[in-house]
Amino acid sequence: MGDAKVLHDVQKQTVQKETVKNQTGKRTGGWKLRIGIADLGPVVALAILLIVGSVMSPVFMTKENIFNILSQIAKLGLGALGMTYVMISGYLDLSIAGILSLCNVMAVGLERSIGTVPAVLIVLALGTFIGLVNGTLLRLIKGDMGASVMITFGTGTILSALALIYTGGYSIRADDDPLFYWFGNGKISGLPVVVIFFFICAVIFHIVLKYTSFGRSLYLTGANPEAARLSGIATARVRTVAFMLMGAIAAFAAVVVSSQTVSASPVAGANYELDVIAAVVIGGTSLNGGEGSIFRTIIGVLLIGVLSNLFILIGLSTFDQMMAKGLIIIAALIMDKYKHLGMSRG
């Protein structure tokens, strides 16, 4: 209720003593999304993109294209949900490139040997376990965000190497299994299954973040870990759980990806962590921790998805796309910085 609005509007309030009306005067339904001014920038950008897109290309607004966009960004979107938690708690997880690579080859490898269902379960467990390792390492060394960057990069490198070792460097093809195929390619009443998966995950992640004590702990931990710890929040545990959720959902994304192509590549995760972080940052969640939301992340993911789609439609080369991506992230960072500067005492 008032909570979501307060956390979104943290940036809006200035440091002067002003009379703030008690915001809990009105009660609204529990599940409504609360949108504050801070979210508008990326939303506006998205709207502009959609308009530009439909002007520039006649196929842009077609149902196929939209579903196409949504399926493409399932991989990105799932990862971004988990990364939002990690970022809010004040850390970053660069190991998801490795998680994706390793989990997608293992998903196929295990599918071939022991079947789809056990393969998926084992891979999800593996992803969760990796998250546990990341969180535990950081807890033991009492690391800060910089430490999380370097350590998760290291674990990610290890996992990527393991993926290459597992397949000997080759891509592997999955056995024909309609269940396995369904994850990435199925449809339920015309809507791709991956989109439904993403939507369900997004809703769950959102509810947990905004309405549970765990979600609140994420924000408190990210905003000031030491103060939160001294106030009784189990900060190390909270952060580790965030990593575990990250690992699990990255593993799930790996299953989806390998299902979509009915094969797995040991370098499937290349640049994954950068894309995911970019999406979350562009959406407006702060790298500093203590603020952000699933709503913002979804907008960021859509922005990147629509943008990538537009690039392809207008024939931009891969190289130019990379350049554009780099520039866009920087632009997003600058806008985020000015948002903060405009709001607080200089």
Binding site: M1, V20, T24, S213, A223, E226, A234, R345
Partner: protein, 492 residues
């Protein structure tokens, strides 16, 4: 002759008038005290004087000439040095490098390290420091760091030295050494502006004082012609009947906490004491005595090597503050802004974070419960705020401290550990906090109180435990305790 004249200084921040027509004159060679509540404008005025900020209006005359400082370096060049409350040293660098930060090369292009160390050595001996200039600052004690700061000020051949709450972290012999240093400074013709909340010190070393309130100068007077009452009245604007509340005797209950042979290598050893319910136990000692370390171990924030803690009859094994809080122990940390509060969040979030379970059902937060709990605490502690959604950073020091206390109360703590609860809090709010602390004891809770202001400890504590360099030196019952006795034990 007046070494300094500040006339009609005005300064505002985003519409809030911080200084209003402030005028200050300081005589050469005097120790001039600057007093006032938090937010009265002392720090702002000194920041303008030292070049950190620029005034909106008014003029500054230093040694007779009109000056204007665009940066701290400009002020330093003219001979004004400031020692901030937050020590401005680079921890990872050596003492010598810190003293000559940014000036290591002197007049030549490259750095002559031999000369640098020699010069630093000379300055260090002037302030009575015994450590090598090659020592890394992070390896020094807080009191030693302060000496480095003073040496740094001397290295600028300052004519005017501003000290902003230098004694906040000192007591006993370190304080004496500080006073000696100030005296030798004035004997050498250096003028000192001394900002402090501690009235004993003001009376001890200042010649004249200026009292500020709400961004204006209330009065300037000679210390010899001033009473404590008059100062308090100037600061607060009304006369305070007592600085400290009267302590009614409270019936003591059973032993709630028993600390036995607590040891942490290098910090403290064999610490044993008891705390009963309804009792306020004060921990006295100098910087380095280990008080904060001990209570942090009781609270589970740090590990200890040996010993045991028995709480409510059972051995206490807490590995983190969360467990301590569940057991009923709460800590109000020394560093309010960084460890006590999350300043960019609202009061509501800050108040409830110690016990989210209390406002949740099956992991889901109950907004109404939370709001009511928050409002009730704000009411109970008389926190001055328009609403509980106000950001913590917007509150004054005293009110912030109340919020931290409120957070501890919210966790239903029976044992409250207060580490310097009135540091940086103005006189009016201090009294309110004292009342709250006494009220806690009256309601049967136990309090462990750490304070560097021995008068405060004496007024509030039932018993005093004196520590010195990690060892328990003695216990004094409230009635028989005096500052002198504390000093004796704290030194022995």
């Amino acid at each position: 002759m007046n070494i300094l004249e500040m006339n009609n200084i005005n300064k505002s921040f985003k519409g809030v008038q911080a200084l209003r027509n402030v005028s200050l004159s300081v005589e050469t060679g005097e120790v001039h005290g600057l007093l006032g509540a938090n937010g009265a404008g002392k720090s702002t005025l000194m920041k303008i004087l030292s070049g950190v900020l620029q005034p909106d209006g008014g003029e500054i005359r230093f040694k007779g000439e009109k000056v204007s400082f665009s940066s701290p370096l400009a002020a330093q060049a003219k001979g004004i040095a400031i020692i901030h409350q937050e020590l401005s040293l680079v921890q990872s660098l050596s003492v010598a490098e810190n003293i000559f930060l940014g000036r290591l090369h002197g007049k030549s292009f490259n750095i002559n390290w031999k000369e640098v160390y020699q010069e630093a050595e000379k300055l260090l001996s002037r302030v009575g420091a015994h450590f090598s200039p090659k020592t890394l600052v992070r390896d020094l004690s807080v009191a030693e760091m302060q000496l480095v700061e003073i040496a740094k000020a001397l290295s600028f051949q300052a004519h005017l030295v501003i000290m902003d709450e230098p004694s906040a972290v000192l007591s006993g012999p370190e304080l004496e050494r500080l006073f000696d240093t100030i005296e030798s400074l004035t004997q050498n013709g250096v003028t000192v502006i001394y900002i402090s909340h501690r009235l004993e010190e003001i009376f001890r070393i200042c010649d004249r004082i200026t009292i500020m309130r709400d961004g204006q100068v209330i009065e300037t007077r000679k210390v010899a012609e001033t009473t404590r009452e008059q100062i308090i009245q100037g600061i607060v604007g009304r006369s305070m009947n007592e600085e400290f509340p009267a302590k009614d005797p409270v019936p003591l209950g059973d032993v709630v906490l028993s600390v036995r042979n607590l040891t942490l290598k290098g910090r403290f050893e064999n610490i044993s004491f008891d705390v009963r319910s309804g009792e306020i136990v004060g921990l006295a000692g100098l910087v380095g005595a280990g008080r904060t370390e001990i209570v942090r171990c009781i609270f589970g924030a740090d590990r200890f090597d040996q010993g045991e803690i028995i709480y409510k009859g059972k051995p206490l094994k807490v590995k983190n503050p969360g467990q301590a809080i569940s057991s009923g122990i709460a800590l109000v940390p020394e560093d309010r802004k960084n460890h006590g509060l999350i300043t960019r969040f609202s009061l509501r979030l800050n108040l409830t974070m110690s016990n989210l379970k209390k406002v949740s059902r099956w992991m889901f937060l109950q907004r109404k419960k939370e709001r009511m709990a928050g409002e009730q605490l704000v009411e109970q502690l008389q926190v001055k705020t328009p609403s509980i959604e106000q950001l913590a950073v917007n509150l004054s020091g005293g009110n912030q401290q109340k919020v931290v206390l409120g957070k501890s109360l919210f966790s239903d703590a029976d044992l409250l550990i207060l580490d310097e609860p009135t540091r940086g809090v103005d006189v009016g709010a201090k009294r309110e906090i004292y009342d709250i602390i006494l009220g806690l004891a009256k309601s049967g809770k136990s309090v462990i109180l750490i304070s560097s202001e021995w008068e405060e400890l004496l007024a509030l504590s039932d018993r005093l435990i004196v520590l010195h360099e990690g060892k328990l030196k003695g216990e004094l019952a409230g009635a028989e305790a005096t500052s002198e006795k504390i000093m004796q034990l704290a030194l022995a």
